[in-house]
């Protein structure tokens, strides 16, 4: 005797939530069929036997609660809940930003690193760079993209691994080429500044999207960039390319190391210098990306996305203003 029950669900923040919920509930013996309707935020459950709707809601609700979803018979006023979350996310995000800028201000990172660049010093410089102001661009970009793909895509871990592989391999290869060919692939300030501006615009847009100001239905609005990211993020090539592309993003440390690789005059030395540098930046960047992926699948997901959005908007604005200053378009607004 089949019976259909209809529940309202909250916490479905991503397309993959449908798959996740259906997978979890389908495993139950008494359930014949589960259909999640993301648009209306409802779950239709077909049970094999007669079941009390309330009891069923309790038992099924308990199963998906660890993933941050909850069931109800009546549609909840979700608007209020979202507003509450942004008021939690805003202070947390701002606190992160303040801590980040305090760290830059403190001068802790400004100890001199003497001698010539060896793989060891490059690694240390990479460690420093990964918490320096370069984090505003590279880290902010990684955080925004990781959070975004976690929101949209269930295979985010694979994408993140590919990104890091692209970055490490790209630094090794391009560093080697710098050593071998010298000025031919020379580092152009203006090109890297323009890339930096693009990266900061992407960050701000993704940040607004994560916070929920640009809601999912409206992401087609800033067409070009968003479409690009939405289309390519599922492929293998894109994360590799973005990882490699971080080589050209503006970062004083990266540029200093590129000069060191360039003046080494050998493929192997140049490659080792850039690879060690990228390896030094890896722990922090890995924490940011894999951290977002695991937070994105926890029950803190809604808070995490909004907090990440606040942080990313802040870093993106900082990078944007800095980039415009570096290009001489605006007068310096700050001196951190």
């Amino acid at each position: 005797m089949l019976k259909i029950h209809l529940f309202h669900v909250t916490g479905t923040h991503c397309p993959s939530c449908k798959i996740l919920i259906e997978d979890i509930l389908q495993e139950q013996n008494l359930i014949d069929q589960v259909t999640v309707d993301l648009k209306n935020e409802t779950i239709a459950v077909v049970t094999k036997n007669e079941q009390d709707t309330n009891e069923l809601m309790q038992s099924l609700g308990a199963l998906i609660k660890p993933n941050g979803y909850s069931l109800s018979l009546e549609k909840l006023a979700v608007e209020n809940k979202n507003n509450d979350i942004i008021w939690q996310a805003l202070p947390i995000g701002l606190a992160f930003l303040v801590l980040f800028f305090l760290l830059q201000k403190s001068g802790v990172l400004n100890f001199g690193i003497g001698g010539t660049a060896t793989p060891t010093t490059s690694f240390v410089i990479g460690l420093v760079a990964s918490v320096s102001s370069c984090l505003a661009i590279v880290g902010g970009l990684i955080l925004s993209i990781s959070a975004k793909i976690s929101q949209d895509n269930i295979s985010d871990k694979k994408t993140i691994v590919l990104f890091h592989f692209g970055r490490l391999a790209g630094f090794a290869i391009l560093g080697g080429l710098l050593g071998l060919l010298g000025e031919i692939i020379g580092i152009n300030f203006t090109v890297s500044a323009i890339l930096g501006l693009l990266a900061s615009l992407v960050m701000i847009l993704l940040g607004l999207n994560l916070v929920g100001i640009l809601s999912k239905n409206k992401v087609t609005l800033p067409a070009g960039i968003f479409k690009f990211f939405r289309r390519i993020e599922h492929q293998t090539f894109a994360p590799l390319l973005v990882g490699l592309g971080t080589f050209f993003l503006p970062c004083g440390f990266t540029q200093s190391m590129q000069i060191a690789a360039l003046s080494s005059g050998s493929f192997i030395t140049g490659s080792l210098i850039m690879f060690s540098f990228a390896l030094g930046t890896f722990p922090v960047l890995a924490m940011l990306s894999f951290g977002s992926a695991s937070l994105a699948h926890s029950k803190f997901a809604p808070l995490f996305f909004k907090t990440a959005g606040v942080v990313v908007i802040g870093l993106g604005t900082f990078a944007l203003l800095g980039g415009l200053t570096g290009l001489g378009i605006i007068r310096p607004l700050f001196n951190i």
Binding site: P250, Q255, G326, G328, N335
Partner: protein
Amino acid sequence: MVAIVIGGIILLSGNSNRNSMGSDGKNVEIRDGVQYITIDARGGYSPNVSTAKAGIPSKLIVSTNGTYDCSAALVIRSANYQEVLPPTGQTEIDIGTPKAGEPLRGTCGMGMYNFVVNFD
């Protein structure tokens, strides 16, 4: 939470005084008719604001000491200068003969550090 934010803002604004201290001319020197203005680059530029004389052929000396951060990626638009400085050393940049009231502005590649030399 609010306390942290306010504390941060106070610290930020308090600290910025350290960097924005103007020079008292100690970093400007005239030798053999050429004016040398020395700026230290590491974790920012110091002094942040310098004052030098106009109408004298001048050179900027940017001094690095284990500098790998953004301040090594120096951009001076008015002198058409964009280079990554050596990690340690002194880089001499010809800035011609400055005119009064036309300050020289330098910034790092990412734009978060800057300095200015006023000429009078």
